[in-house]
């Protein structure tokens, strides 16, 4: 896969939504350990709303608009920290761009990098603060370092980095979110938002691999 068309992007986002919704019990369980136990509920709710919105956008021809609308649907329905943060992850890099019917790897990487910096502008978290940024930033960096124009490879690298980043939060003391007052007691537990971020990148990779497989099979 070398191009992500608007139609692809719509399916990609729907696929991501389904995978996150499936992970609701797992994410809630993560948040229960060091937070308030609602992260899975919130993500499932927001991804459901994004789903609904994407379904009304059939036939859209602007990739950025799809990401933007999906993110805004999350931001304006979920509430909680994750509504703003994950809404911004999707919409932050897409907002204000001139419409584009398809993205190559470089443009997609820029989109995600824009999401990361919007998340950081909004939330102020850096790597090491035990938030979803610990998964998101390495993923974006891996994409930026990725040579060539192959979505499977690009998102494979991103997924790997996100997974390692999410794992790394186990060794961190939180500085944001509800776990921040926990101090040392948060050690050993993965941050729920970082886990979500990894699931999102994994779903994007899987989508491309399946899509790529279909293309190869043609």
């Amino acid at each position: 896969m070398e191009r992500l068309t608007a139609a692809d992007a719509r399916e990609l986002l729907l696929y991501v939504a389904d995978r996150v919704i499936e992970s609701k019990p797992y994410l809630t369980e993560m948040d229960r350990a060091i937070g308030d136990g609602d992260h899975g509920i919130a993500m499932a709710l927001g991804m459901g709303k994004a789903r609904e919105t994407l379904q009304t956008l059939e036939g859209g021809s602007d990739v950025y608009r799809l990401f933007c609308e999906a993110g805004m649907a999350m931001m304006m329905s979920m509430g909680g920290a994750s509504g703003v943060i994950f809404g911004t992850l999707f919409s932050g890099g897409a907002k204000g761009r001139s419409p584009s019917p398809a993205l190559d790897c470089a443009a997609f990487t820029e989109l995600m990098a824009g999401g990361l910096s919007a998340v950081q502008r909004r939330g102020g978290a850096h790597v090491g603060d035990k938030t979803m940024v610990d998964a998101l930033q390495p993923a974006v960096e891996a994409m930026e370092a990725f040579p060539g124009n192959d979505f499977c490879g690009l998102l494979g690298a991103a997924e790997k980095a996100a997974r390692a980043g999410a794992e790394s939060t186990r060794n961190l003391v939180a500085r944001f979110g509800r776990a921040k007052s926990l101090g040392e007691r948060a050690l050993g537990h993965m941050d729920a938002g970082a886990a979500s971020t990894h699931i999102i990148f994994r779903a994007m990779r899987d989508f491309c691999v399946r899509r790529g497989g279909q293309e190869d099979g043609k």
Binding site: T28, I41, M75, M78, G83
Partner: protein, 330 residues
């Protein structure tokens, strides 16, 4: 598995609002299209708008009333409302004199209310914000802005409501509310966890006979686990922490609140209040008012918190003004 009386977990906040309006629709109404409650009659004053996650009832939604908030934006259980809900709720009661936001200091609430404030400023509605950060267990004093808002919401909303009702400007009302916020300190203890509606597991479970000292109102873990002591000893631990934190001492004037977190009985809260009074009397602290009840809950969590509000003459004046909502009246 915790049993609850509900129809569907996702519908809880909205059906609760319906049920509230079924009883108290004479004075309040729903903000159309969103999960917000407002007074029926927009008042010619700075609008006090509060909000936060549902699940802490009567806080936040049921603190809409005379001398209290003009409107409240309600999120899902333990989740801040989204920016659109906050904006619609604020606009519904804006009388052109600006909006004062008061809410608990959590990542989620800060993010969502900040975006709402930006949106409102763009619409030409001036806003100011007071974040309540009274939970001394949640961060050291040097990082006070990392502290959570717990039962101290009660005092800050009471005083902000009185200040806006008195006709203060947005800046002045903000100053008074921020002063109340700076004077309120709380610490809580959990005996048993609660479950979010629809979840089969409680947010936390404690070993037999143990308590969580310093926990938050969403069941966030506290400072340490320890065996449950007697009521006086437990109260002493909380009071000692608050005394050390606030430096409250002989001659100071305070309001207090022993707040139940959900399933802890009035009997237990008053047994704690008995000891609190002994300790304050013994320290020579002047007691302006003591409140005891379950005002800021955490679903059916078992436990309690103690809050101290240090008063000066100005705050006392606002505290003493009458106010009324179906679950809080003075």
């Amino acid at each position: 598995m915790t049993k609850k009386i509900l129809n569907s977990p996702a519908a809880c906040p909205s059906q609760m609002l319906d049920g509230f309006l079924a009883a108290h629709g004479g004075t309040c109404e729903r903000v159309p299209g969103v999960s917000g409650l407002r007074v029926r009659q927009v008042r010619d004053k700075v609008a006090l708008v509060i909000g936060g996650g549902s699940g802490h009832e009567p806080m936040f939604t049921f603190f809409v009333g005379d001398g209290l908030a003009d409107a409240a934006a309600a999120g899902n259980v333990f989740a801040s409302p989204d920016p659109n809900t906050i904006v619609q709720t604020a606009r519904a009661v804006d009388a052109g004199k600006g909006v004062l936001f008061v809410y608990g200091n959590y990542s989620g609430d800060n993010l969502n209310f900040d975006i709402a404030a930006e949106m409102l400023e763009e619409m030409g509605v001036p806003t100011r914000t007071v974040r309540v950060w009274d939970d001394v267990a949640s961060a050291p004093a040097q990082r006070i802005k990392d502290r959570r808002g717990i039962a101290g919401d009660l005092f800050v909303i009471k005083i902000a409501g009185a200040a806006t009702a008195a006709g203060l400007s947005l800046d002045e009302a903000w100053r008074v509310a921020a002063k109340a916020r700076d004077g309120v300190f709380s610490i809580g203890v959990g005996l048993a966890g609660a479950a979010i509606p629809g979840e089969s597991e409680p947010i936390f479970t404690l070993p037999e006979g143990e308590i969580e000292f310093g926990l938050g109102i969403h069941g966030e873990p506290g400072i340490r686990r320890m065996p449950l002591p007697g009521a006086d000893e437990l109260t002493d631990l909380l009071v000692d922490t608050l005394f050390a934190e606030t430096g409250v001492s002989a001659g100071d004037r305070v309001c207090t609140c022993v707040n139940g977190l959900g399933s802890t009985t009035l009997m237990e809260l008053y047994i704690m209040n008995r000891r609190l009074r002994q300790r304050l009397d013994c320290a020579g602290v002047e007691i302006h008012d003591m409140q005891v009840g379950s005002y800021v809950t955490s679903q059916e969590m078992a436990g309690a918190s103690i809050s101290l509000l240090r008063l000066d003459g100005e705050l006392a004046g606002y505290f003493d003004r009458p106010c009324s909502s179906p679950h809080y009246r003075r």
